[in-house]
Structure formats: structure tokens, C-alpha cells
């Protein structure tokens, strides 16, 4: 069984080993990559991982979620201001996750129950999110404190991996790792996962088998909203401790691209998110070092340029879930 598994995942394993070895070599080599690059890459990747998982869960159940950007923005807003006004970080985190759930529920209800076009529903969500957060934005508020950071016992002692992922880490960083593992296990090794995938691939077959297609889609898209909430809260309360207008800055859309590049698989999306984190870290490094005469305005577009290039290569090689984007009408086929 083990050998079969290795044979099946040969490419993935080879790539993983090569990347890991390269990472260690550059980490310990003289004049290699500075350790801060690794940390900054992971810091940029955390919300992308969480948001990409939202996309994976949604599309695996057959619902396109282009409103992740808006969900994150509202969650960042709600989390920041709820804790600024209440004086409690916990209240903020809960408010952020709650708002993510509400918007997830909104998207689920409009697309699944009302059969609204899924892309338009997402666009509406994004416009509402931008409008509401700008409308109620008040400058000059502060968080009551910093999010707690901690070292994960044992794991933080692993060289490099421990330093980057498990030392001085926050609940959201840990959550991103756990969530990626959990969604992977859930999708491919549980009854829920099999049902979710079948609902996303061939809903009428799933319906015939007695699965409540609409309910499963509703529940999945709504609950996935909580992860988008965490991603948003991370941005305004952990990564920066301030809320700015449009602070999500395209991360929600990048996450969708990451989901596609990760072939709708949670762990591959996790790796792709870290890849994007690295692109961003390299971009900001270029900006600071001054060795290259690249204007900072252009290095900032690097993740988006890379997305288009990678998608142009990846498209056609990866396959979307069969029923993505199509509302399900019982008894239609």
C-alpha cells in the first residue's frame, strides 16, 4: 500500500523533497536567503491558505465563491472594530468569524436557494463589502493589545521548519496548517468529503443516491465562510493591527488562483500559497536591497503577473469539479 501511494504521488514527492533540500541549503548557506524571508513568505501565505481553502470547499461542492475578497474585508473590519470598541481581542475574533459565516450564508442562500448566478453573487458581495466598510470606517481606533504568540512545543525545535512555522506563531498560523490538513483529510477520507465531492461533480447522481444536494452545498459554503473570517481577522488584528480601506488588496482573488493552481486540492493549494508568499517576499526584498533597479510599484504587481502566467500554463492541465457554477434543480435531468 505504501509503495502504491509513493508511485501515485511520485511527482509531488520529488518536488517536495527538492524544494525542502533547496530551502535548507539556502537557509544555511553563507550569503543565502535571509531567515526573515522565510518568515515573511509564510506570513503572506497564511491568509492565502485560509482563503484558498474557502474556495476549495465551495467549488468541491459546486459553488464558485468569488466573494472571498469581500468576506475577508468585512471580517477584517468587524474583527478590528469589535475589539477596538469592546476592548477584548476575543470579541473581535468572534465578530470576524461570525461576519464571515453570515456572508458565507448570504452567498450560499442566494446561489443555492435562489439560484442566482454565482459569479454575480460574489461580485455583489464584494461591492457591498467595500461600500459598507468604507461607509462605517472611522480612523484613529486602536486594538486593545497584540494577539498572543507562542512556540509550539517540540515542533518548534525542528531546524528551519520549526523556526518558520512553529516559533513565535499565532493561532491563525497554526489554524492555517491544521485547517489545510483537516480539509484534505475531510475531503478525501471521510463520508462528508465523498458526499461533498459527488455533489460538486455530478449532483443528480448524488441526489439519486439520497444525498441532500442543496443542504450540503448550503452548509459547506456557509461554514467555509468562517475560514474566510479567520483570514480577514488575521489581516487586521495579527499581521498589522490596524484596519485600512480595501486592505485585503486582491488576496481573496489570488486565493482563487491558488486554488486552481493547486488543482482544487487543499495541500497543493497550501504549497502554492507558500510559493506566492515567496514571490512576495522576493519582491519586497528586491525593493529594499536596491541591488536591482526595479521600481517598487512594479514589484508589487509580481504576484498578479505570476498568477496569469502560471494559470496560462496550468489551465487545461487541471480539471475543475464538474458541476462548478451550475445551480442544482431537483428533478432537472
Amino acid at each position: 500500500m505504501t509503495t502504491a501511494w509513493i508511485a501515485k504521488n511520485r511527482t509531488t514527492l520529488i518536488v517536495t523533497v527538492v524544494v525542502l533540500v533547496a530551502a535548507y541549503v539556502f537557509y544555511y548557506a553563507k550569503n543565502g536567503i535571509a531567515p526573515s524571508m522565510y518568515t515573511s513568505a509564510w506570513g503572506y501565505a497564511i491568509p492565502l491558505v485560509l482563503a484558498a481553502l474557502v474556495g476549495v470547499i465551495g467549488e468541491r461542492s459546486g459553488v464558485v465563491n468569488i466573494g472571498i475578497e469581500g468576506q475577508m474585508l468585512v471580517a477584517a473590519f468587524a474583527g478590528f472594530f469589535a475589539s477596538a470598541y469592546s476592548g477584548s481581542l476575543l470579541v473581535g475574533v468572534l465578530a470576524g468569524i461570525g461576519s464571515g459565516l453570515i456572508l458565507g450564508g448570504f452567498l450560499a442562500w442566494t446561489t443555492v436557494k435562489w439560484r442566482m448566478d454565482q459569479i454575480i453573487a460574489g461580485v455583489v458581495l464584494n461591492i457591498v463589502a467595500t461600500g459598507i466598510t468604507s461607509f462605517y470606517y472611522t480612523p484613529g481606533k486602536q486594538l486593545p493589545g497584540l494577539m498572543p504568540s507562542f512556540d509550539v512545543p517540540l515542533l518548534s525545535r525542528i531546524p528551519l521548519i520549526g523556526d518558520v512555522f512553529f516559533t513565535g506563531t499565532s493561532i491563525f498560523a497554526t489554524l492555517a496548517i491544521l485547517a489545510a490538513l483537516a480539509v484534505h483529510f475531510g475531503l478525501f477520507h471521510t463520508r462528508w468529503g465523498l458526499r461533498t465531492r459527488s455533489v460538486g461533480e455530478y449532483p443528480s447522481a448524488a441526489d439519486t443516491a439520497g444525498i441532500n444536494v442543496l443542504r450540503l452545498r448550503l452548509v459547506n459554503v456557509t461554514l467555509a465562510g468562517s475560514l474566510a473570517g479567520c483570514a480577514g481577522v488575521y489581516l487586521s488584528m495579527d499581521a498589522s493591527s490596524s484596519f485600512e480601506r480595501n486592505m485585503v488588496a486582491g488576496r481573496g482573488f489570488l486565493a482563487l488562483a491558488i486554488m486552481i493552481m493547486g488543482a482544487w486540492r487543499p495541500l497543493r493549494a497550501f504549497v502554492m500559497a507558500i510559493f506566492f508568499g515567496f514571490i512576495n517576499a522576493v519582491a519586497s526584498q528586491l525593493q529594499q536591497s536596491g541591488n536591482f533597479d526595479v521600481p517598487p510599484q512594479l514589484t508589487g504587481t509580481l504576484p498578479f503577473v505570476v498568477t496569469i502566467i502560471v494559470l496560462a500554463i496550468a489551465a487545461g492541465r487541471v480539471r475543475a469539479p464538474g458541476a462548478v457554477g451550475q445551480p442544482y434543480i431537483k428533478g432537472d435531468e
Partner: protein
Amino acid sequence: MSETPTVAEQAAPPPPDGSPSDEGRPDRQPLAFMLTHQSGVVIVVALIIALAVGALLIRLQGVAPLFAYETLIKQALFVPDGLTRTLQKTAPLVLTGLAVVLPLRVGLFNIGGQGQLIFGAMFGAWVAYAAGGYGILGAVLGMVAGIVAGAFVGWIAGVLKATRGVHEVITTIMLNYIAAGVTWWLVTGPLQAESSKTSGIPQTELIPESAQVGAVAKIPIGFVIAVVLAVACWWMLSRSTLGFRFNTVGANKHAARYAGINISRIVTLSMVLGGGLAGLAGALEAEGTLYRFEPAVGGTLGFDGITIALLARANPLATIPAAFLVGVLRTGAAGLQFETGIAPEVVDVLLATILLMVSIPVLGKWIFRSRADKVSAASTSWGN
């Protein structure tokens, strides 16, 4: 999209024997069909609901909603030069609306109006400044440059969709950010006005007055151009062979392929035309409103185009009243803030509510109590 089926198409489960494919089914029609067959009553209801939601927000800010709406309308239409300013605002909105309508007829969702517009504005402003000595010719050259720049951005998304099958929604969004970054670099670097370099204000040189696009008898020239183009788009879509091809590809790709239509070319062309229209909107903003390029030139024009296109039910002529409505709201909102202190973002919420209401198939069903609802599938699978 291409002539050979993509991996996704091959791997998709074949439809059961004897059953028609999705495209042929009445309740699986593309978005364009749903929009063009939607009743006008839905739009009226959507407007009323949106105004009610806006009233609630305004009420919560401690201002009487009726007074606020009255101020808004007054500021947009009845103050001196108010109508001219509103029409000035309407012109780019008609164009960004058309920029969404044309690809929508082919079944593509262009949410890259923002990026195409800002690119058009940048190059329009630059060329109009550089050719400013030639008077009207300079103004025209600026517009052409804007069209070309916007069309180029649209072409990237279109050609990637047609040849590589990359979903246009993702590429256009990415291009929005790229266009913003590139123009920001140009306006703070190579193309920054000499006078602004010391103060650091990101803006290009002022376009000479002879190459500015002004107004004739209080009607902005840009508005006239926009209306002419809206009529031209309507003629193209409903009376020309090209329009027939657009509609055929949008309604049924398989039928279009059997009819010998080059789908890749039509898809690319729709994005090029859409991008060009958005680029022209940007050039007009630069030449007629700001008289130079500034990063904020786009505002929300690109995204308002989506609302306008859907409100207009993908009908080019209807983009004119739809854009006028949005123009009134946007122009009035600025005055509203001045008078009552209500943030102009309330209009975003209003427009989003309208957009939501006109695109819910159920709304039509509720109103007519029939199976009038048409399910759309603009959001086809990402892979193809």
C-alpha cells in the same frame, strides 16, 4: 473554447443518452439570455428595494432619508451646471457599461473594466499632452491611444480565454491590479509632471486646453460620443453579421461551432472591443474631467459598469438610462456629503442592492408567480 476539446471537456461526465446538453435546456440558459428576457417590472422593484435599504442606512446616520434623497437629486440635476456634471459622469459610465455588455453577449464576464479604463486614461492623457499642440487632432489621438491601450488589456484576457482556456474573471481581476501598479509607476516615474516631481503628487502634465474635451452648449462632447457608441453597439449586435455571431456564440457554443463560426476569434474580439470601450472611457475622463492622469481617475467607474450592464439587461441602448441613473447617484452623493455629511459610499450599497435584486432569478418568480425565472450560468467551470 478552442476547437479541440480541453481536458476538462473530455473528462466531464457525458450527458445521459438522449438527453440534450445543458445549453439546450430552457432553464440552463446563459446569463445574457436571462438578462435580455427579464421583465422591466423587476428593475422597478429592485430600485424601490434599493432605495429602501439606502434610506435605512441614511436613517441610522441620523438624517431624514427623504431630505437626503431630495438633496441628492437636487445636487445632481438642479444646481447650476449640475446636469452638465452629471452627463459628464454618465459618459464614461455608458462606456464601461458597454465594456461589460459586449463580452456578456458572447458569454464572457468582463470585470476588468477598471484596469482597461485606467490604462486607457494613462495613455490617453499622455498622448493628448504630447500631441496637444495639434489642437483637436491631439484630443482625437488621445482618445485613439486610450482605446488601443484598453483594447490591449482586454486582448490579454480574451486571448488567454480563447487559446488557453483561462477563466476571464480571474485574468481580468489580476489585470486590474497589474494596470493599477503599472500606471502608478508611470505616474510617479517616467511620466510624472515636472511641476509635481518636487511635491511628489502623482499626476501627469496638464493637457493643453486646445486638446481638452469640453462641452458644447452645456452638453459634454464625451456624452455625445458615448451615446453614439451605444447606438453603434446596438446596431452591431442586432443588425450586423458580427452581432449575429456574438449572439450565437453566447447562446450556444456548439451550434456556433457547427455553423462555422470561429469561436476563439469572436471571444477575443469581444474582449478587445470591451477593453477598447473602457479605455475610451478612461481617455475621456483624463481629457474631459481631470485634464491629466491621476491614479484615482478610475474611481468606481469600472465596477459601476457591471451594475449598469446588468441593470440594462445586456442591451446597449439601455445602458444610457442605466448609466444616467448611476451618474445621478454618484454626482449627487458628492453634494450629499457636503450638505449632510453622509459618506458617498452609501451609493455603493444602493448599487449593490440593485445589482443583487436584478440578478436574483427568484425575484421575477415572486412577482409573476410563474416559472419565469431563468437560471443563468455565466460562471461556467474555471477550467474551460
